[in-house]
Structure formats: structure tokens, C-alpha cells
């Protein structure tokens, strides 16, 4: 898996390359010029109970209850569960369905809190010497702090760390390749030490020896800040990667830093690597050192439609409308989009009532001239521009034809599920085909089909199990009868042997009587038939 030559090359600081990629306008200077500002407290908050990939925890507060900042609102009971916490002190006003930040605009259970303005926090204590604490306890602390991957996927961090497998390198991802977003950039500039402290804790938990901190070369200030801070962290070395999209994608960054490829449908840990985002590392440090749960994160608010673009510490659960008011958003046209995330992979929000959640790294408010709305889709001319930029080395145009034709075997053969949905293909497509949209739809259909198939399989198994059971029961019944009959015979035999009256004798006598009677009857009948037969023979002669 990890040859010594490969390790040597990584140690020497080699930067590999990955195929494809694009260079969209970065526009990061729009938001990265000012320090991260605190978003003022809102009057009310909306905290969705599920903000990570996994199951929601059990709600442990009631309506009307007063909660403090950092107080868990749900329990992390189930395996993939992760608690959510109150963003500030106040009263729980409602628990029920509400719209959440999701591409489909779907609703989920949310907890509404009316802030009391005191921002009183729950008491928490940190650990000074975490290395003396058992690994399981540390993981439990991270889980209790509600930390999920803040880079975008939202996978529970403790869960990722719990996989105890040999690791060559822990990679701290500060690449932030998506245009416009500068949340990680500012965090690295301002909190490099805390990030590295968190990274060190992660290194300890992953039981790894070495770590790599990766930053794109368009962030010189962040690189400088990290370099300075790295003097105290000899376990980590800095890797500056060239600016191109999507170099910050987990698989692509792994390829850039190690030349390895995560196997299809595998995990980085399969090739001895573990990746965490800088924001996650920061949150881990705060959770372990200060015992502070995750109640806020850095959100980039940017685009030409806001007057005060920049980065803000936003409490998780703050309605988007509040954030936009603070940043000075002015609607530009009917075509105005509100994008949660970046211009390449973010999704649009139908309205501003949804809250900021753990994975919200950016709110992008473009006007139509900077990010023009999509034009009408034209036919594919098979130009192949998409294949040239695809970092996963797929053939996007083939996938597109197959997706439109619903040829699921073909899609499988063309490795649809290796698509990371980075959007590079759709970005360059001269016919403006929303390629990623087609892939997402096709993936959903394939997953649905697999689910249906699994269901059908279960139904079939149950049916077969029932048939088998019925068959078995029938056999058992027959067996029982057979045994009963045998037992009866045996009992009779015993009775005869012991000199008793054999019931069989009576039966035999009765049969003999019946036979004699029958024989007498048959004889009488035969005699009659002979006389009749003679008459018939005569009739036959007459007829002839």
C-alpha cells in the first residue's frame, strides 16, 4: 500500500498532480480583506436537530424550558448521532417541523429558541493535559461537543477518528479551492496556533506520527501565519499546492500530497490517510482545551449584492435573513440567487428563513453580471471539454448520454459513482448542459433502484422462509401422525402379548364376514349375467 519510495517522496515534499481541473475567477479578495467579525445576537434562533450525516439525536429539552448557550438540545445516543447545542441563552418556543438548509428545501424537526440577550453559557471545563486522558473519553468529548466535519460533508469527527487503522499521515485541509469562500483562509490567518493545536489532538487520537497541512498558493498570509505557528509543531509539515479547482476535494488533495488514490468506494483510511478540515481542527481544540461545544462557525458572506462582504462568527441556528441584514444585502433583480456554499458546489435557498448550520461555510449573493444565470441547454456536440477538466478521469459526456437514456448498466460501467460532483464539467460545457444535475438525478435513481431491489430481496427471502416453514410444519405434522400410528400399533401388540383381547381379532372377523357376504352376492350376480348374456347374443344375431 505505502511503499517506502512513496513515503520518501512525500517526506521530500513532492507535490503530485491530478488530471483535469479548472481556473474559475477566484473573487476571494471580496471577502478576505477584513478580520472575522462577530455577528450580533439575533432575537431568535432555529436549530435543526440533524446537521450532520447520520441520525438525529433524541430531543432532551421541552418547550418553555430556559436553555443556556452550549447546552445540549439533543442526546447523542445512537451510533451515528451527534448532539446539537443552544446557540445562546433563551427560551425554547417551539419544537416541530421547519425548513432547513437543504438543496431540496425540505423540512425537518427544528428547535426554536427566543434569545434573552444575556448570552449566558453553560459551565464547561477544558483539559490541560489531554494525553493523560483515555482515548475513548476524548472521543466522547468531541462527540458531545457536536463536532462534525466543517469542510462540507458533515461527517461526525469522532466517528471518523474511531476507526483504528494504521495511518501514515493526517492531512489538515486548508486548501479552500472553491471560489469566493475565505472562511478557512481568515481562520488560518487569525488562529493558526489553535488550528495546529487541534490538529495535534487529532494526530494523537488517530495514533498517527506525522501530519501534513495543505494550503493553496493563493493564500500567502495564511501560509505565513501557519509557517510561524508550525515552529512549535514539528510533527506537521506545510504543503503549498497550486491554485486550481478542485484541489481541495478530499480525493484530489490526497492525490496532490501523496500521489495515492483512494480506491473507488473506499475511504482514505484504506490507504493509510485521514483528512480533517482546518475549521474542524479549530473546533476540536476548543472542545478539548476549553470544553466548549460547537455553537458558532466562520461563515463567508460575499457577492456583489452585499454591501459589507466579509467573514463572520455566526451562531449555528442564526436565520440566514439575520446574517444578510448584518452584511447589508440588497436584492438586485428577480434573478437574485442566494447560494449556500460556493459558486461551484453550493445550492440555492428558496428563502431566507432557513438557519445557518454546522456545514454552512458561505452565503453567496451574486448579482447577475458576476454569476450569470444558466442559459438554455443546447445539444451536446461531444466536444470533450468536460472530459479534459474532469478530475476523476470520467467521460462526462458519455455519462450525460447514458443518464438521459436511463442506461443504468452503462452508467455503472462508466463509473458514475466516482463522480465527486465538483461541477468542473458543467463549468466548461459550451452547450451549458447542467451535467452535475443529471448525474445527481441518475445517482438518486440508481440508489432508489438498489433500495427497491433490496426491499424485493427481503420480501423474497421472507416469502421463501414462510414457504419453508409451512413445508417443515407439514412434514412435522405427518411425522407426528406416523409416530402416533406406530405407537398405537405398538400398544396393541403389547396388549396381545400380555394376553389381552386383541382388538385386531374382532376386526379380522368382521372383515371375513363382509368378504363372505360379498362373495355370495357376486356369485348370484354372475349367474344372472350369464342368462342375460345369452339373450343379448340372440339380439345381436337379429340385428346383423
Amino acid at each position: 500500500m505505502s511503499s517506502s519510495a512513496n513515503i520518501k517522496a512525500i517526506e521530500a515534499g513532492q507535490i503530485w498532480s491530478f488530471p483535469g481541473s479548472i481556473h474559475p475567477p477566484e473573487r476571494k479578495d471580496l471577502s478576505n480583506q477584513t478580520a472575522i467579525a462577530d455577528m450580533p445576537l439575533a432575537d431568535s434562533y432555529v436549530v435543526p436537530v440533524k446537521q450532520h450525516s447520520g441520525a438525529a439525536g433524541e430531543i432532551c429539552i421541552t418547550v418553555g424550558e430556559r436553555v443556556l448557550r452550549g447546552q445540549p438540545l439533543t442526546k447523542s445516543g445512537v451510533s451515528m448521532g451527534l448532539p446539537v447545542h443552544a446557540p445562546t441563552s433563551g427560551t425554547v418556543t417551539a419544537i416541530g417541523p421547519g425548513r432547513i438548509a437543504h438543496p431540496s428545501g425540505m423540512a425537518d424537526i427544528v428547535i426554536r429558541i427566543a434569545a434573552d440577550g444575556q448570552d449566558e453559557a453553560i459551565a464547561h471545563t477544558g483539559l490541560t493535559d489531554y494525553e493523560q486522558v483515555a482515548r475513548a473519553d476524548l472521543l466522547e468529548r468531541i462527540r458531545a461537543a457536536g463536532i462534525a466535519g466543517l469542510g462540507g460533508a458533515g461527517f461526525p469527527t469522532a466517528q471518523k477518528l474511531a476507526l483504528q487503522r494504521p495511518i501514515d499521515y493526517l492531512i489538515i485541509n486548508g486548501v479552500e479551492c472553491e471560489p469566493y469562500i475565505s472562511a478557512d483562509d481568515r481562520l488560518m490567518r487569525e488562529h493558526a496556533k489553535t488550528i495546529l493545536d487541534g490538529a495535534k489532538i487529532l494526530l494523537h487520537l488517530a495514533d498517527a506520527k506525522k501530519g501534513l497541512v495543505a494550503v493553496e498558493d493563493n493564500k500567502p498570509e495564511a501560509i505565513a501565519a501557519l509557517k510561524e505557528a508550525l515552529a512549535d509543531y514539528p510533527q506537521f509539515s506545510l504543503r503549498v499546492v497550486p491554485t486550481k479547482y478542485p484541489s481541495g476535494g478530499e480525493k484530489q488533495l490526497i492525490q496532490l500530497l501523496t500521489g495515492r488514490q483512494v480506491p473507488s468506494r473506499g475511504l482514505p483510511i484504506d490507504i493509510g490517510l485521514l483528512m480533517q478540515n482546518v475549521g474542524t481542527a479549530y473546533a476540536v481544540s476548543r472542545a478539548i482545551r476549553d470544553g466548549e461545544p460547537l455553537t458558532q462557525r466562520v461563515v463567508t458572506v460575499t457577492g456583489e449584492a452585499v454591501r459589507r462582504p466579509g467573514n463572520y462568527w455566526v451562531r449555528i441556528g442564526t436565520p440566514v435573513a439575520e446574517v444578510l441584514r448584518e452584511a447589508g444585502f440588497e436584492r438586485q433583480s428577480d434573478e437574485q440567487r442566494i447560494i449556500m456554499g460556493g459558486p461551484m458546489m453550493g445550492f440555492t435557498l428558496p428563502d431566507t428563513n432557513v438557519p445557518v448550520v454546522k456545514i454552512t461555510n458561505c452565503l453567496l449573493l451574486p448579482n447577475v453580471s458576476e454569476l450569470a444565470p444558466a442559459q438554455q441547454e443546447m445539444p451536446c456536440i461531444r466536444c470533450g471539454a468536460c472530459a479534459d477538466v474532469c478530475p476523476a478521469q470520467l467521460l462526462p459526456q458519455q455519462l450525460q448520454w447514458l443518464a438521459k437514456a436511463k442506461d443504468y448498466d452503462g452508467l455503472e460501467q462508466q463509473n458514475l459513482f466516482d463522480c465527486i460532483e465538483c461541477g468542473a464539467c458543467a463549468y466548461v460545457c459550451p452547450s451549458e448542459i447542467p451535467l452535475v444535475h443529471y448525474y445527481r438525478k441518475a445517482k438518486a435513481e440508481v440508489r432508489n433502484m438498489a433500495r427497491e431491489k433490496a426491499k424485493a430481496e427481503i420480501a423474497r427471502e421472507r416469502f421463501e422462509a414462510r414457504q419453508e416453514r409451512l413445508e417443515r410444519e407439514k412434514e412435522e405434522r405427518l411425522e407426528r401422525h406416523r409416530k402416533a400410528a406406530e405407537a398405537r400399533k405398538k400398544a396393541q401388540a403389547e396388549q396381545v402379548k400380555s394376553g389381552g383381547d386383541n382388538p385386531q381379532d374382532a376386526v379380522q372377523a368382521a372383515i371375513a364376514r363382509a368378504k363372505a357376504r360379498k362373495a355370495a352376492q357376486q356369485k348370484a350376480a354372475a349367474e344372472q349375467a350369464t342368462t342375460e348374456g345369452k339373450n343379448e347374443a340372440k339380439d345381436g344375431e337379429n340385428n346383423a
Binding site: W16, S17, I22, P24, K251, Q255, G259, Q261, V262, P263, S264, G266, R331, D334, Q336, R337, I338, P343, M344, M345, G346, T348, P350, T352, L364, P366, L371, A372, P373, A374, Q375, M378, P379, I381, R382, C383, G384, A387, D388, P391, A392, Q393, L394, L395, Q397, Q398, Q414, N415, D418, E421, G423, A426, Y427, V428, P430, S431, E432, V436, H437, R440
Partner: protein, 352 residues
Amino acid sequence: MTFKLAASPHSHQRRTTQQVMRWVYMALIPGLLALIYFFGWGVIWQLGLAIITAWVAEAACMSLRGRPIGFAWRDHTALVTAILLAISIPGLAPWWLIVIGTAFAVIVVKHVYGGVGQNIFNPAMAGYVLLLISFPVQMTSWPLPQQISQFELSFLDSASVIFTGFTPAGYNLEQLRMGADGLTMATPLDSLRTALNHQLTVGEALQQPIFGELAGLGWQWVNLAFLLGGLVLLKQRIISWHIPGGMLLGLMIPATLAWLFAPDQTVSPLMHLLSGATMLGAFFIATDPVTAATSNRGRFYFGALIGFIVFAIRTWGGYPDAVAFAVLLANMTVPVIDKYTQPVAYGHGGRS
């Protein structure tokens, strides 16, 4: 207050199919100028006829198919088909030739298969082959390069020949094509082939006035001009090097080998490169993405196959040039090429 919903990515590079096509025909200008300079104004009339035919045919097909007409016109693909066919046929060919060819290309080869992006065969080349097989005389009657021609035809004289068959002075195409010795002259590739068939050496064949310093008189510059336009397309990343590179190598390698063995009996590699439709084919025709292979590796093989077929037909076949046949034959192999050249996707055991 609701906001507009859209699928990611929200950022988009502004290079439309129309722009791509515009680059293609802009890059044809040097070659076109060379054609006019050496072979007269006829090509302009052919272009006009081809473009009008293509637009009418496209509009008719779109309305028959119940699609918006402007939608098809906007992508300029029919325009490129028309231009490619117009510059591929002899400049003074009768008007109905280009009309039939273009109409066939647009209606049968493109729209019958489902329109833009759906056709299996290169429309311009399928149209060319239809004409070559149906009207071989008209399709091989190339005017003489003006430098050795006895006639100088004006813009309107050309029109007269195309539409009536005669110049205003009463000369027909056959007469116009006569050299100083009173014999009708074939194209350089044709002449060379005939000479080789008559047991002449290449050196002897090249003594004919129709040849220049590098290859055929006029043809050498036309090819160099198309090469120039092709390099512009490469530079602008409208096309990648795989198809032209593959085609030129596929032609060059066997040509060089044959020439090394028998320099007197075979056409030199340079002659191959600068004759007939080599450069036009390599950079403008074979690169039609719709009918080419999909992956870059596949495209290289696709180009190489075309190059090799061109060499084979020019050397052993019954036609002096072969780009159109080669392109169509290679079009047929695309599904097979695609099947065996699918790139190894990330995480499937490929090397970084």
C-alpha cells in the same frame, strides 16, 4: 420573498458552441484566401450556395421536426458543414453539385440521425463522398492554379461558369482546364498517380508544370494556410492536438517508411502532407467532435487511423485523395475505439 433556484455550478465559463464554431470558421480564412489566390473566385460562389442551402435545409428540417428554427441556426454547426464542403469541392463545379451535397449533408446525414450531436458520420465528408461517387467528373475537375492557367477569370466570370457552364466569352470548364500544351490537367496527386502507373519515376513526374517546390503548385500553400489556421485553433484550445497529431503521424510514418524503401516509386512524406485535403482534413474535418472518438487517447487512435487510411488509399486505392473516405471509415470505428480507450477513473487502480 422567494429567490431563484438553480442547480450548481452557478459559475460558468462563457464559451458557447456558437463561439467555438465561430473560431473554427475564422481559422479557415487563411486557407480560404490561399484557395482564392490560386484557384480563383469560384470558391466564394460555392460558399454562398452552400451556406444558403444549409440554412434552408436546416430550417426545413427543424420545422418538420417541430423544433424552433432559430435554436439550430444559433449554434452555427450547419454553417461549418456548409463551409467545409464548399472549400472541399472544385471551385468551378456546377451550382447544383454543392446544393445537392450540402442538402444531403444537412438533411440526411445530420437531421435524419437526430440533429446536432447525434450524427454518426461527418456531414460534410458524407456529402463529399456522395458527390464524388455520383458525379466523379465534376468532382475531380479542379481548375488549374492561376499561375499556369491561360485564363484569368473575374468574380463574375466564375459565377457564369458555375451557373451556366460557360464563361461570358464562351469557354467551357474543360477548355479552361487546359494547360499551355493543350492537354487537360489533373490535380497534382492525380497526375502523380497516373505517372507512377505509367512506370515513370517520381522525379520524372514532378517535372510537370503542375508541381511546385514542395508539392503541387498552389496546393502546397493552401495546405500551409490551413495548417496555420489549425495552429490557431490549437492555440485557442478549440481543438486538442490528439486528432490532427494522430492523423499526421498516421500518414507520415507509413509514407516515410515506403519512401525510404522506394523513393522513386512513392510519393514523398512532404508531398503527402502538403497535398490534397491533408491539412484541412487534419485540423478542420477529422476534429469534428460529434463524430470523433471520446477520450483523448481514443481521439489519437481515431486520427492515426484516418492518416493511415489516407496513405493506403492514396497509395493502393482507386482514388487520388482519400480524406473523405478515411474520415467516414474512421467514424464507423468510433464505438469500438471508445470501448477500448475508456480512461481509468480515479480510484480504479490507475497510476497518478
